[in-house]
């Protein structure tokens, strides 16, 4: 088989092959791969549309500091054919941006910012427009006013071949109205009021966004989820990247676009948690490695250590200090060798005074490696805006009218070494908690959220589900969680939610997130256990008394046979003994019980951090 392989008869050369070479636009890519955008399955596709539009509205309102007022209307137009209208009172989209916001994929304000938002990839609204267009051929109608007196009413399509907006019709008229209405049709989708449909999506949205007023209407009914708190959550702030989460290419990017003059000031101004002290520490770590690697072949190990020890690697004048150390340690050695070593070192030593524009990959890599060896403060959490313990409790009380509810908003933490997050967990018991079963009973319901946006699909592999299932609920006397009237609410807040897949419907099992959720669940479960125990106690005491009374006659008869004494008399004496035990006990027990119910529900729960509250 080592002979030269023979080529096919029809030789085709490279030029011919590349005749059809062309660039493909993202819009065309997604047209053929709509599942990447979540448009897969008839039911899920419709829910995805609602999700994208509502998410966008809520984000916009919050960024502008407006209390959201959202209307969602779903009209059935025919078989698997629906119109979806989503209206908000947000800041509106300026006329000059409307076409690209709605008519071009991967544009927007969020993708490149390190900020906590529901949507993040700039594919949301324009993706919905694309989906509408490829199922109905029709444009999406956008009405938007920014409150400056002008309202735009436009019909927008995406030119798929070029990924650019195509305005089919546009009218601008005068009105002070502010807000956005998106109106779009879809075919090949299916509406259901079931567990994974738009209605349920909005109900969950209401639970996690009690500052929003939400109106929902479908072909058969309408419902208003009223606003529960009157305060807009603080605007999420952009967080500077934390050194621990960076990869070399990220750092290079930052360095090259920084306005700082020196790497040292670049690190301090562009990254979070990097102080002047830390810069010096980084410099020391980087250069220790560099000196060791550079001199490895030239000097014995012990000499290298001496040089490192004698150099002040944190110094501003690092090159001079290293040079001095070399001379001191090698004093008496061959002069030529000494100057060779100094020359080599000078070329390698990392000087924090260098310009960030000149930073190269290798150096960025050295810095990133050093970041891993230096201990930084946890990233700032000012960008994380939790819903807050009390607000969640208020929202769930309003929504479920439960017998028991408790929420925990945990302090921020980081995962994968540098990405800040916090979890909020709540449990509601009784009332309308849980999901109604077809037999009219109730079963447990897990409400999952990422940055307040509901996650309705792919519950199986989600860290929230895994954490819930990992709890030994029996320990908390919840014998059969599956069929308990319980709603479990879990919200992950993060600048970067680690979804398991492009579907953005399940959160990956990062250990730190898993542990935080578990911890919060267990803490609330303990309180719930106490609540349920208190409820049970009165019942039990009553049952006890009845039980003693039941055995009295039989015992009396047997004892009468055994002793010859009159059975009636024995019975009366025994009854007296039982009664006296309970007359004492009942008053005492009932007292205990009340104390428990008042106090215990909230004991042991630490006050949430100031920061975690709005």
């Amino acid at each position: 088989m080592n002979e030269e392989p023979k080529t096919a008869k029809l030789g085709v050369n490279a030029e011919t092959l590349f005749k059809e070479f062309r660039e493909v636009q993202l819009s065309e890519f997604f047209r053929k791969n709509r599942q990447y955008l979540g448009y897969v399955g008839k039911q899920k596709s419709l829910t995805t549309v609602v999700h994208e539009l509502v998410t966008n509205s809520l984000d916009a309102c919050e960024e502008a500091g407006i209390l959201p007022d959202i209307k969602v209307i779903i009209k059935e137009l025919g078989n698997e054919h629906y119109k979806v209208i989503v209206e908000d009172n947000g800041p509106g989209v300026p006329e000059k941006h409307i076409d690209r916001v709605f008519g071009q994929l991967l544009t927007g304000t969020k993708f490149h910012r390190n900020i906590q938002l529901r949507g993040q990839q700039g594919l949301g609204v324009s993706g919905a427009v694309l989906f509408s267009q490829i199922t109905t051929g029709k444009p999406t109608r956008i009405r938007s006013g920014t409150g400056n007196g002008k309202v735009v009413d436009a019909q927008i399509l995406i030119d798929i071949k070029t990924n650019s907006p195509k305005i089919v019709e546009k009218e601008v008229y005068n009105d002070m109205w502010r807000g956005t209405i998106v109106e779009s049709e879809f075919k090949g989708v299916k509406y259901s009021r079931g567990a994974k449909g738009p209605f349920e999506y909005m109900r969950w949205t209401a639970a996690a966004n009690p500052h929003a007023q939400i109106f929902f209407k479908d072909n058969t009914s309408e419902i208003l989820f009223e606003r529960v708190v009157n305060q807009v959550p603080p605007r999420p702030k952009e967080i500077k990247p934390h050194p621990e989460g960076l990869e070399p290419h990220d750092l290079l990017d930052i360095a090259h676009s920084s306005k700082a003059r020196q790497v040292s000031s670049m690190l301090m101004s562009e990254l979070s948690r990097v102080s002047a002290d830390k810069v010096r520490e980084i410099q020391e770590v980087v250069n220790t490695d560099i000196i060791q690697n550079t001199l490895k072949e030239l000097l014995p190990e012990q000499k290298i250590s001496e040089i490192i020890k004698k150099s002040n690697l944190k110094s501003q004048a690092i090159k001079e200090d290293v040079e001095r150390a070399v001379r001191e340690v090698l004093v008496g050695e061959d002069q030529q060798k000494i100057s060779d070593i100094i020359r080599v070192l000078n070329g390698a030593i990392f000087d924090m005074r260098m310009s960030p524009k000149r930073l190269e990959w290798e150096q960025a890599e050295q810095l990133v490696n050093a970041f891993k060896k230096v201990k930084f403060m946890a990233p700032p959490t000012s960008g994380l805006i939790p819903i807050g313990k009390k607000v969640i409790e208020k929202a769930l009380t309003n929504l479920l009218a439960p017998d028991f509810v408790e929420a925990i908003s945990r302090s921020p933490s980081v995962y994968r070494g540098g990405i800040p997050f916090l979890v909020e967990v709540a449990i509601a018991y009784g009332g309308n908690s849980g999901r109604e079963t077809s037999e009219g009973g109730r079963k447990v319901e897990l409400m999952r959220f990422a940055n307040r946006a509901p996650l309705l699909f792919d519950a199986g592999g989600c860290v929230t589900t895994l954490a819930m299932e990992s709890i030994d609920w029996k320990r908390y006397h919840i014998i059969d969680l599956e069929s308990a009237p319980i709603t479990i609410f879990i919200n992950l807040i993060s600048t970067h939610v680690p979804y398991t897949s492009a579907g953005k419907q399940a959160i990956a099992k990062e250990d730190e997130i898993y542990d935080e959720i578990r911890f919060a669940l267990m803490q609330i479960a303990r309180t719930l256990q106490k609540f349920l125990a208190g409820k049970r106690r009165v019942q039990e005491e009553k049952a006890k008394k009845r039980m003693f009374e039941k055995y009295v006659p039989e015992t009396a008869t047997a004892l009468s046979k055994l002793t010859g004494m009159d059975a009636n008399e024995i019975q009366k004496s025994l009854e007296k003994i039982v009664m006296s035990r309970f007359s004492e006990l009942f008053s005492k027990e009932e007292l205990q019980e009340n104390t428990q119910e008042e106090g215990a529900a909230y004991e042991e729960i630490p006050e949430p951090d100031e920061e975690a509250e709005e």
Binding site: Y551, E554, T555, A558, L559, K561, L562, I577
Partner: protein, 365 residues
């Protein structure tokens, strides 16, 4: 029958005292209680002197006003009252008969006095321990299973019979043997045999004449009645007991229960255990000694587990000869049955094995 009367008098006295104490507590307005010795492992010790399991002096108290005790308390009184009646009427009952006799529903309730004979059995155990009296003496008889054969004339309930004149069978040992008397006998020891087919072989081979012994079998694990019967015979006649069982953890267990008592009945060891028992076979050494390698059986997992347990038994754990047997068994991974001796020849057990070992005093103790 005078004998029987004395026994009954003493039993009645104990029952009456039990009732009276409880009645007095009720009269004085206290929650009625009674004590019973703790039958947990923590309260059972092995008496090295008497070589039997014994109960320590830890007690637990049954109290009517303790919700966990109330039902058992009532049941204990029911059983005590019934036993008093049986003794008075001179009847004995079986365990399950007792249950049926006392079962009825509680007034205004669907609940019964006893739901099954496990409940009544457990109350009976408690009462036995609390009154420190054998259940047979409360006129509740044990399971009848097992027989005796040999040169002994017994009498019971007015009948007198010769246990060597019963054809190929023997006397079926009844569940109640408290009143058995020995009229006369010609025997040097009692041979307690695990397997009824081995019993048949030894009757056929007339070993009772050859070795001058009484043959008793319990058909597997000796039931209470048979153990009690062996105990009575061995005490009355001062006869040693030689145990002949399968060479496996279960055989060892049968032997050890016969000799030392069981945890369940530790409170009655002195009335059941036969400390002068010896073990003649089968042993692990027999396998090589008599060339039985081909008729061993593999140990099952449950056997292996039992070996580990038996190594911890108080009477085995410091006994080098027994530990050696257990370790050998573990090593070989096999067990050897009594009947495996038939592999040599049918009469091998009677002509060679037993004479050789018994006359040579080759026992484990």
């Amino acid at each position: 029958m005078e004998h029987q009367k004395e026994i009954d008098q003493e039993s009645l006295k104990k029952i009456n005292e039990f009732g009276k104490r409880i009645l007095e507590e009720i009269k004085s307005g206290k929650s009625p209680t009674f004590n019973l010795p703790l039958r947990a492992k923590s309260n059972i010790t092995f008496n090295e002197a008497t070589k039997t399991l014994e109960l320590g002096d830890k007690y637990s108290t049954r109290s009517f006003l303790n919700i966990a005790h109330t039902r058992k308390f009532m049941q204990s009184l029911l059983v005590a009252a019934a036993c008093k009646e049986y003794i008075s009427e001179g009847k004995t009952v079986g365990k399950r008969e007792l249950y049926y006799n006392l079962k009825h529903s509680l007034p205004n309730s669907k609940e019964n006095t006893f739901e099954d004979d496990i409940e009544s059995g457990s109350v009976l155990n408690d009462l036995e321990a609390s009154l420190n009296i054998l259940r047979e003496r409360l006129h509740v008889e044990a399971k009848a299973r097992g027989s005796i054969y040999g040169d002994i004339v017994l009498s019971q309930a007015g009948d007198t019979f010769d246990c060597s004149k019963l054809g190929r069978g023997g006397w079926a040992i009844p569940g109640y043997v408290e009143d058995v008397d020995v009229v006369n006998h010609k025997a040097d020891f009692i041979l307690a045999i695990e397997n009824d087919a081995m019993m048949s072989r030894l009757i056929q081979e007339k070993i009772y004449k050859k070795l001058n012994c009484l043959l008793v079998t319990g058909e597997g694990m000796f039931p209470r009645g048979v153990r009690r019967f062996i105990k009575i015979l061995s005490e009355k006649l001062k006869l040693p007991v030689i145990t002949f069982v399968d060479g496996d953890p279960y055989g060892f267990y049968i032997y050890s229960v016969l000799k030392y008592g069981s945890i369940e009945l530790a409170h009655l060891s002195e009335r059941y255990a036969v400390p002068n028992s010896k073990y003649v076979g089968m042993t692990m050494d027999d396998i090589d000694e008599y060339g039985l390698q081909n008729v061993t059986e593999k140990l099952k997992d449950v056997d292996k587990k039992r070996i580990r347990e038996e190594m911890q038994y108080p009477w085995f754990k410091d006994n080098p000869a027994w530990l050696r047997q257990l370790k050998l068994m573990e090593q070989k991974g096999v067990r050897i049955e009594q009947q495996a001796l038939a592999n040599k020849s049918l009469d091998f057990v009677a002509k060679k094995y037993l004479p050789e070992k018994i006359e040579g005093q080759k026992f484990l103790d």
